[in-house]
C-alpha cells in the first residue's frame, strides 16, 4: 500500500496548472462573467486537447488512467475555477455516450439535483444532458440527446455564480435510459464533483494564507495573530481530511478487489462499501469548500466582500456543486443506513 500522490500524478497536476496559466487564466475566464456561454468553444477544446475528458479512456483514444488520477486533475480544475459542464462532459466521454465529448468538441451537461426546481446549467451550450441521481436515492440514469430546447426554457437573469449560467425548465423530456453504466456514472460524477470541491477548499486556503502573510495591521502581518492562524489551521484540516476521503474513494473505484475484501471483512456488499466511501467524500468536500471559502473571505476582511477579489467565485461555485449529486443533508442522512 502506498497512498501518497505519485510523481506521475504530481506531473499531471502540474501540466494542468501550466495550461491554465497559459490559456485559461482567471482573468481571461472572468471576461465571460454573466454571459450566456460561460466558456468559449475554443477554450473548451483546449481542455479536450489537454486530455481532461479522456483521462480514463483506453489508449489511443484516451490516456488509460484511473479515477485516482482523474480526481487529481479535477482538483486542479476546481482550483482554477474553470467553468462549464466539466463533470457531464467527462462522464459522456468515459462511457462513449456522445461523439466529440472526449475531444472537447461538444459540451455535455449533467442534471443531478433532487430538488423540484429544474435549473439546468450551461443549457445553450449543451449538445446533450445527462440526468442522474445522487447516491442518496435510486433513479434510472438517462441521457437527453439533443439537450432540451431553449424554447420553453427561461434563462435566469441573476444566477448565483456569474460563471454558471442557468435555465429554468418546467419539465425534462424522458430521454433514453442508460442502465448498464448508470451506477458508474453516479459514482464517478459524485467523485469528480467532490474533487472540484477539494480544489476550491485548497485554493481558498492558499489565498487566505498568502494574504495573512502579507496584510499588515497593528504593525505586523495579520497571520502572526493566533486568531487568524487558527482560522487558517482549521482550513488546512478541512481540506486535508476531505482530500483524503476523495482519494480513498477514487482508489476504491479503481481497485474492486480492495472493495471486495473490505466488503467481506465488514459484512456488507461491494456496492455499499463503494457508496459509503463516495458519499462520505462528497459530504466532506462540500463542507470543506463552503467553509474554506467563507473563512478566506473572513481573513481578507472587507476586501473579501468585493467583486474583484475572486473568493466569492469559489464560494458561489462551491454552492452550485453542493446542490449536485446529493446535498450534505441528503447524503449524510443516507450514510447513516451504511454505518
Amino acid at each position: 500500500m502506498d497512498f501518497r500522490i505519485t510523481d506521475d500524478q504530481k506531473e499531471l497536476a502540474d501540466g494542468i496548472r501550466t495550461v491554465v496559466a497559459g490559456r485559461l487564466s482567471l482573468e481571461h475566464l472572468r471576461m465571460n462573467e454573466g454571459a450566456e456561454a460561460a466558456i468559449s468553444a475554443k477554450d473548451w477544446s483546449v481542455l479536450g486537447q489537454t486530455g481532461v475528458f479522456s483521462l480514463t479512456l483506453p489508449e489511443p483514444e484516451g490516456t488509460g488512467l484511473g479515477m485516482a488520477d482523474a480526481v487529481v486533475v479535477f482538483e486542479e480544475l476546481g482550483r482554477a475555477l474553470i467553468p462549464g459542464p466539466l463533470v457531464g462532459t467527462f462522464l459522456a466521454a468515459s462511457a462513449g455516450l456522445v461523439d466529440g465529448s472526449a475531444e472537447g468538441a461538444v459540451q455535455v451537461g449533467v442534471h443531478s439535483s433532487g430538488s423540484d426546481q429544474i435549473l439546468v446549467a450551461h443549457l445553450s451550450s449543451l449538445q446533450a444532458l445527462l440526468v442522474l441521481s445522487g447516491y442518496h436515492r435510486t433513479t434510472t440514469a438517462r441521457i437527453l440527446t439533443p439537450a432540451p430546447s431553449l424554447e420553453g426554457a427561461t434563462r435566469i437573469a441573476a444566477p448565483l455564480c456569474p460563471l454558471t449560467p442557468l435555465w429554468h425548465l418546467p419539465s425534462l423530456p424522458a430521454g433514453d435510459p442508460i442502465a448498464d453504466v448508470g451506477s458508474r456514472l453516479v459514482r464517478d460524477g459524485s467523485l469528480l464533483t467532490a474533487a472540484l470541491q477539494v480544489g476550491h477548499a485548497a485554493e481558498t486556503l492558499d489565498l487566505a494564507v498568502a494574504y495573512a502573510k502579507q496584510r499588515q495591521q497593528f504593525g505586523q502581518p495579520i497571520g502572526s495573530f493566533q486568531a487568524v492562524k487558527h482560522i487558517c489551521a482549521d482550513m488546512l484540516v478541512r481540506a486535508e481530511v476531505a482530500r483524503s476521503a476523495v482519494h480513498a474513494a477514487a482508489c476504491l473505484a479503481d481497485e474492486p478487489d480492495v472493495v471486495a475484501s473490505e466488503a467481506a471483512g465488514g459484512g456488507r456488499s461491494a456496492e455499499q462499501v463503494m457508496a459509503r466511501a463516495v458519499m462520505g467524500a462528497k459530504v466532506l468536500a462540500d463542507e470543506a469548500a463552503l467553509a474554506n471559502a467563507r473563512a478566506a473571505i473572513q481573513v481578507y476582511g472587507g476586501m473579501g466582500f468585493t467583486w474583484d477579489v475572486p473568493l466569492h467565485l469559489h464560494l458561489k461555485r462551491a454552492r452550485v456543486l453542493a446542490t449536485t449529486f446529493g446535498t450534505v443533508g441528503q447524503l449524510s442522512a443516507a450514510l447513516s443506513a451504511l454505518t
Binding site: M1, H230, A233, S336
Partner: protein, 393 residues
C-alpha cells in the same frame, strides 16, 4: 496512490490474524478498573505473549530488540489488534512508545542492555515525569532541579500527569541542570524505588486514578542514568518524536468507529432512527471517521517512504479529537437518562445499551483536545510549520 496491500503485507496480516485468533481466547478476564497492580500483571502477561511470538516492539528497530516492521505493517498490527479486541498497550505505554525508543536512539550500550529487553518482555514498567504544575504546554519552562553531587544528581521538584506511577519501576524524567529555556534540560532515568519520591494519585473527571503527581525531595539519581549529555535533554526528547510513524491514535479511531456502529444499533433499537437530524449526525460522523482512516493511511505511507514523521499527525489529531467529542455528545443524547448511569443498563427489548462504555468514551474524548498537545497548540504548529505563518509570541 493505491490502497492495495502487497503480498508480504497480506502475509503479515494473515499470520497475525491466526495468532490473535488462537491467543486471545486464552487470556484471563481483564481486572477491575483502577486495580493497578492487577492491571500491571494482566498487561505484563499480554506483553510476554507478544514477546514470545515475535510481536513485541513491532515499531522498534531490530537493533533495539524489536521486530523492525514497516510503518504499513505497524498500521496493520494496530488495526488487527483493535478489530480482534486485543488488550491495549497498557500500563507500560510510556516504556513501549516513548522511553524505550529514546534509549534506543540516545542511550549508551550499557543503558540499552539494562533497559530495553525488560520493556519488551513485559518485566519493567515506565512512567513519565515531564509536565509540571507550572510547565504544561510550555514544557521547556520546567523547574524541577537536578544538582550534581559527585556521581549522583540530587533532584527536587514536582511532576504531574504521571500515568501509572504507583506500579512503575522507572521514570523518564526531565530536569533542569542549567539555565532557563530549552538548553538547560537533562533527561534522566529515575528508579521509582529511590528515597524521596512521594506519589499522590490524581483523580480525573471520569473518577479514574491512572494519573499521579510526583513530589521529589532530594532524590539521588546516579549520573550513569543520564541519557544524552547534560543540558541536551530537550533534543533527546525531540529525537524520540521521530519514532512516530503516523499510527498514533489508530486504536482510538477504530474504537470510535466501533462505538458509532454500536450507538447506531442502540438508536435503532430505541426506535429513534426516523429522526432525520439523528440520521445526519450519525452519517456525518461515519464520513468523518472514514476520512480520518484514509488520512492515517496517507500519513503512514509518507512515513514509510521518507522515514520522516509526517506533520500530518497534527492535522489528524485536531480533526479526530473534535469528532470523537461529537460522537460522545451524540451518545449522551441518544442514551438520554441511561447516560446518567455508569452501571450497565438494558433497553426495553432487553439488549445492553453499552451506556457505561459510551460514558467512559465521552469522558475520554474530553481529554483528547488537551492531552499530547492542546488543540490550540496544535493549531499554532499547523499554522507555523505547515502553512509558514509568522511566529510571533
Amino acid at each position: 496512490m493505491d490502497l492495495r496491500y502487497t503480498a508480504s503485507e497480506l502475509t503479515f496480516r494473515d499470520e497475525l490474524r491466526v495468532w490473535l485468533g488462537s491467543t486471545l481466547p486464552k487470556l484471563p478476564a481483564p481486572p477491575p478498573a483502577d486495580d493497578w497492580p492487577a492491571r500491571r500483571r494482566f498487561d505484563a502477561h499480554w506483553q510476554r505473549l507478544l514477546f514470545d511470538s515475535g510481536y513485541a516492539g513491532v515499531d522498534w528497530p531490530i537493533d533495539g530488540g524489536g521486530r523492525g516492521s514497516s510503518p504499513i505493517e505497524q498500521l496493520i498490527f494496530k488495526e488487527e489488534c483493535e478489530r480482534a479486541g486485543a488488550p491495549y498497550v497498557g500500563v507500560n505505554f510510556v516504556g513501549l512508545l516513548h522511553a524505550g525508543p529514546t534509549v534506543i536512539a540516545e542511550g549508551t550500550v550499557a543503558q540499552k542492555e539494562r533497559y530495553l529487553a525488560p520493556i519488551l518482555r513485559g518485566d519493567d514498567v515506565w512512567c513519565q515525569g515531564f509536565s509540571e504544575p507550572d510547565a504544561g504546554s510550555d514544557l521547556a519552562s520546567l523547574r524541577t532541579r537536578a544538582v550534581r553531587d559527585g556521581d549522583h544528581y540530587i533532584v527536587s521538584g514536582s511532576k504531574i500527569w504521571t500515568s501509572h506511577a504507583e506500579v512503575a519501576d522507572h521514570c523518564e524524567l526531565l530536569v533542569r541542570t542549567g539555565d532557563d529555556g530549552h538548553r538547560g534540560i537533562t533527561w534522566l532515568i529515575m528508579p521509582m524505588d529511590a528515597d524521596g519520591i512521594e506519589i499522590r494519585p490524581l483523580r480525573t473527571i471520569a473518577g479514574s486514578t491512572e494519573f499521579a503527581e510526583l513530589f521529589l525531595d532530594e532524590v539521588r539519581i546516579p549520573v550513569e542514568n543520564r541519557v544524552g549529555d547534560e543540558n541536551d535533554g530537550w533534543r533527546v526528547t525531540m529525537v524520540t518524536l521521530s519514532f512516530e510513524r503516523g499510527t498514533a491514535f489508530v486504536g482510538e479511531l477504530l474504537e470510535s468507529m466501533r462505538l458509532l456502529g454500536a450507538l447506531h444499533q442502540v438508536a435503532d433499537g430505541l426506535g429513534l432512527m426516523d429522526d432525520l437530524g439523528l440520521q445526519r449526525r450519525i452519517g456525518h460522523l461515519t464520513a468523518a471517521f472514514d476520512a480520518l482512516w484514509a488520512l492515517t493511511k496517507r500519513n503512514v505511507s509518507e512515513a514509510a517512504q521518507s522515514g520522516i514523521p509526517g506533520i500530518g499527525g497534527s492535522v489528524f489529531k485536531l480533526s479526530f479529537s473534535e469528532h470523537a467529542q461529537a460522537l460522545g455528545d451524540l451518545a449522551m443524547e441518544i442514551l438520554d437518562r441511561a447516560a446518567l448511569s455508569g452501571d450497565p443498563l438494558c433497553g426495553p427489548d432487553g439488549t445492553a445499551l453499552g451506556n457505561e462504555a459510551h460514558l467512559h468514551a465521552w469522558f475520554k474524548s474530553i481529554s483528547l483536545t488537551i492531552a499530547a498537545g492542546t488543540s490550540q497548540v496544535q493549531r499554532n504548529i499547523v499554522a507555523e510549520r505547515i502553512l509558514g505563518l509568522p511566529k510571533v509570541r
